[in-house]
């Protein structure tokens, strides 16, 4: 077993990173904040993937690499595997974590379907919390993109939180 730190360390660091970029640096430019947070995740994913694959033969195809992300990689980072993997066999993969650790402590209702304007302050706060949550998710999306890029696969990654606490990561491999 390698070195460990308390979970609060990483939780605090991520909370503060998101708040620094979203509230202090780019309060009026969420798309810039998102890009920076994703870039930080990308670096982390790239480096972790490098370390975890050092003594491994190359992956023979995309599916093998994605399976590595679902099993070994996810276990190292989140101490559990991805619960469900789906693919359309045309370069899109959906990885579902039924209880995504970094969202488990946030209590926010999923975004409403009708998409109407929030009518009371609590709904507004909820909306803000959902926005904050999607900001957080740029980090793991970046991690996945960085990890795959290190394996020679360039892709786009997005997150779907319509069924919290489950979280799905959608990977679209670039041809």
């Amino acid at each position: 077993m390698g070195r460990e730190v308390s979970e609060s360390c990483i939780d605090s660091l991520l909370t503060e990173m998101v708040s620094t970029y979203c509230n202090r640096f780019y309060a009026t430019k969420p798309e810039l904040a998102a890009r920076r947070i994703e870039a930080i995740g990308y670096q982390v994913g790239h480096q972790l993937s490098e370390r975890y694959t050092m003594e491994r033969p190359r992956f023979s195809d995309h599916l093998e690499a994605i399976k590595f992300i679902c099993k070994d990689f996810w276990s190292e980072v989140f101490k559990k595997q991805i619960d469900n993997l789906k693919t359309n066999h045309r370069g899109t993969f959906v990885l579902q974590d039924n209880r995504f650790r970094w969202l488990a402590r946030m209590s926010v209702d999923p975004p409403t379907e009708n998409g109407g304007l929030p009518q009371d302050p609590s709904a507004l706060a909820e909306n803000e919390a959902t926005q904050l949550m999607s900001m957080y998710l740029y980090f793991p999306c970046g991690i996945i993109r960085g990890a795959l890029s290190n394996l020679g696969i360039s892709c786009a990654v997005s997150a779907d939180i319509s069924s919290l606490p489950a979280c799905s990561f959608v990977i679209r491999i670039k041809a």
Partner: protein, 186 residues
């Protein structure tokens, strides 16, 4: 229920949720690198890292008090001792010690035996002047402020800058008396 005494940092660390330190270390490194790119000035990066630490410190203190069961520390000396022996252990899993007290007991050094933030880190020449671990000094400053002690926390020695140890100097500026009664609504 049996009375519960203070718990050791080791016990809290062992019983709490833990994560792979590599993830934490690399995430911190990536944040520092991104800040260097975005802010360009090393001094500004030092300031932001300290500010991030401060914000973390003021929040972390609740968890610290809740999990450690430490009773009210009588003075600055006892407080720094608890931070070094219990705080560092329960969060980072490393031990630290307090030395170099000045005569009037308002300034001391916290020595880190080990520092997970710097695993795999080597600073390029372009980062001269960077206090890479400045988040830690901010955390301590924030945590102390929450227990009514205003302090300056700076790096006296930093192995990434070629020193032979990690040494944080903690200087008490003033002890703010706590205000009672607390208002429920705030």
């Amino acid at each position: 229920m049996a009375p519960v005494g203070p718990r050791s940092g080791d016990a809290i660390f062992a019983s709490g949720e833990r994560v792979n330190a590599e993830l934490f270390t690399l995430t911190y490194g990536a944040i520092v690198r991104q800040l260097l790119t975005d802010l360009e000035e090393v001094d500004e990066v030092n300031k932001q890292l300290d500010q991030m630490g401060y914000n973390i410190g003021i929040r972390l203190v609740d968890e610290f008090l809740a999990k450690s069961n430490v009773s009210r520390c009588v003075d600055f000396k006892e407080t720094t001792d608890v931070i070094a022996k219990v705080g560092f252990k329960m969060f980072l899993g490393v031990s630290a010690s307090v030395t170099n007290w000045d005569a009037d007991g308002t300034c001391c050094s916290i020595m880190l035996d080990d520092n997970p933030l710097v695993d795999f880190v080597e600073l390029p020449d372009t980062c001269q002047g960077l206090y890479y671990c400045n988040i830690l000094s901010g955390v301590i400053r924030g945590a102390l402020e929450m227990v009514s002690m205003k302090a300056d926390v700076t790096w006296a020695r930093d192995m990434l800058r070629g020193d032979d140890a990690f040494e944080l100097q903690v200087k008490l500026i003033k002890q703010v008396p706590e205000e009672y009664p607390y208002k429920d609504d705030e």
